[in-house]
């Protein structure tokens, strides 16, 4: 909001227009894919409309045609125009915790900007920066510093995605990270329990620690379903598309094919092969998750993590769940099991669209 528009008293009008009584369209955005979800209440019945919309890399000349195709796809999915909340799942977003000591001469905002410049090692002209102080509940008592979590996204990424999403007829009113969207929807978020949230998307994987609905720390790793599928495809000499389908489809056989008393090793040789290929990546993911938990314990009030909430299209793959459980020694809830998503079907949708659905259920007034 500029001084000019603020001077016209448009802030209140804009807020009133954007606070849509019909709810938001939730979007989880990546460079090449949008996952869109909309929640509607019809009488006592709650209904969800969800859609995965690939974003083709179009030339400038075919932009209009591409946008028309995207709009048609959105309409077909039953998602109408309206205000939207978007979570960007991209490793290009830097998330870093800060311990700041604001004074009368230096405001918290000024300190965040100064520390962000140091952290990023460059100016903030091409970066969009925002931050959130952590609540008193998680701070260590007696310390004079203010723990802050700062988010820095490349301006180019944000603007590109805004243009693409607005081409669908959606008016993006807020851009978050996956952890910010998911944290308030984790079942029991109001309780003391600390949760580890893992959102494995197509291009990135968000690992975060959440407590009381607040994000304490988040890291977005530069690998996701696509990279795992590529690795699987190259190792096993398979088509990448087939590998993606294999990893995203919930496979009951994979979860039940273990021989009892055999150290969790799968009976299916194919499954064993896949497990062998994916294990290093999943171990890396577990290490990152453990590091996040350790950092929170070292800086904030010590609260043991109670569970891992696993969402994203890869969450349907049972081997990932088992490997994570083994590595982190924590119960892993997946397929929407650990989430309060108001009637989102408890199948593969619940996991794949959990972030978009959380955005759709965002409560603007609760954020103050």
């Amino acid at each position: 909001m500029t001084a000019w528009t603020a001077g016209l008293g448009l802030t209140a009008i804009r807020n009133a227009l954007e606070r849509n009584a019909g709810g938001y369209v939730g979007v989880e955005a990546e460079r090449t894919l949008l996952r869109v979800a909309r929640h509607q209440t019809r009488g006592r019945r709650e209904a969800w409309s969800v859609a995965s919309i690939p974003l083709p890399m179009e030339s400038a000349g075919r932009l209009k045609e591409t946008n028309r195709g995207l709009r048609a796809a959105t309409r077909r999915a039953g998602i109408q125009k309206g205000p939207a909340i978007c979570a960007i799942n991209s490793p290009a977003i830097d998330v870093f915790p800060l311990e700041l000591r604001p004074t009368e001469s230096e405001s918290l905002e000024g300190l965040v900007v100064a520390h962000a410049q140091k952290q990023l090692g460059r100016g903030l002209d091409d970066v969009v920066l925002d931050y959130a102080p952590l609540p008193d509940l998680v701070r260590r008592p007696g310390e004079g510093t203010v723990p802050v979590i700062a988010f820095a996204a490349p301006r180019e990424l944000v603007e590109t995605l805004l243009v693409r999403i607005e081409a669908l007829g959606l008016n993006v009113v807020r851009i978050l990270t996956p952890a910010c969207a998911l944290a308030p929807r984790v079942a029991g978020a109001e309780e003391e329990a600390r949760h580890l949230i893992i959102d494995t998307a197509l291009e990135g994987t968000s690992v975060s620690v959440a407590q009381h609905g607040h994000v304490l720390l988040e890291r977005i790793l530069p690998w996701g379903l696509r990279k795992l599928a590529e690795r699987l495809g190259s190792e096993l000499d398979l088509d990448e598309q087939r590998c993606e389908e294999f990893l995203t489809a919930a496979s009951p056989s994979a979860s039940t094919s273990e021989r009892p008393g055999d150290g969790g090793e799968p009976a299916d040789p194919m499954e064993a092969l896949v497990r062998e290929v994916l294990a290093p990546a999943i171990r890396e993911l577990a290490r990152e998750a453990a590091a996040c938990l350790d950092y929170c314990d070292s800086v904030l009030r010590h609260v043991p993590a109670s569970a891992v909430v696993l969402v994203g299209p890869l969450a349907n793959y049972p081997t990932l769940r088992k490997l994570l459980e083994a590595e982190l020694n924590l119960p892993v809830r997946c397929q929407g099991e650990g989430m309060d998503l108001r009637g989102l079907p408890d199948d593969s949708h619940a996991a794949a669209f959990a972030t978009a659905a959380s955005c759709a259920l965002w409560k603007e007034e609760a954020s103050g």
Partner: protein
Amino acid sequence: MTAINLIPPDVCARRDVRRLRHWIVRLASSTVVVVLLYAGLVHMVALRNAELHRLTGRFAFLQEHIQSAERVLDERDALKQQYTAIALIRGHCTAGRYMELLGDALPPEGYLRALEIGSPSKATSGQEGDAGIDEGPTELHIWGRAPAHQQVGHLMRQMTTSRDFGTVNLVSVSDLADPERGQEVEFEILCTPGGVAQ
């Protein structure tokens, strides 16, 4: 809830301006439509008012004519009364008077069957404007019966000598062969009232 927003502030501002422009365009187009509708409405009201004025003028004009026509009719009625009064003063007899005269002239056995008083307007006809003005009768047509021809002759003599009758002509006299009434004659006399030339 970690309520961050990674939309660049200048993008927000641009969108606000764009949205404001959009609303202004909407408002302007709505205003144009309302103004056009209002202008149309005003034009229609003006047309109706002009029509109303025209009809009011016409109504006043016709009412004036109706009043003058009523005045003419009133004058006509007054003149008619005056004409009747003048005719009475001139001595024109009325039908009752003629009946009385003929009753005196007829012998006791005779009787009148019909009396027709002819007036000049009825005779000439077609001048309705003077229809109600009594200018006096011009001829009298009398039908009656008498016991014999002598009584008819007596009646003719009485009428001829009377000043109230002018020229008296016997049109016809015929015997009636009625067994119940005996030897009666039926006569028809045409005469003019006294003072009227034949």
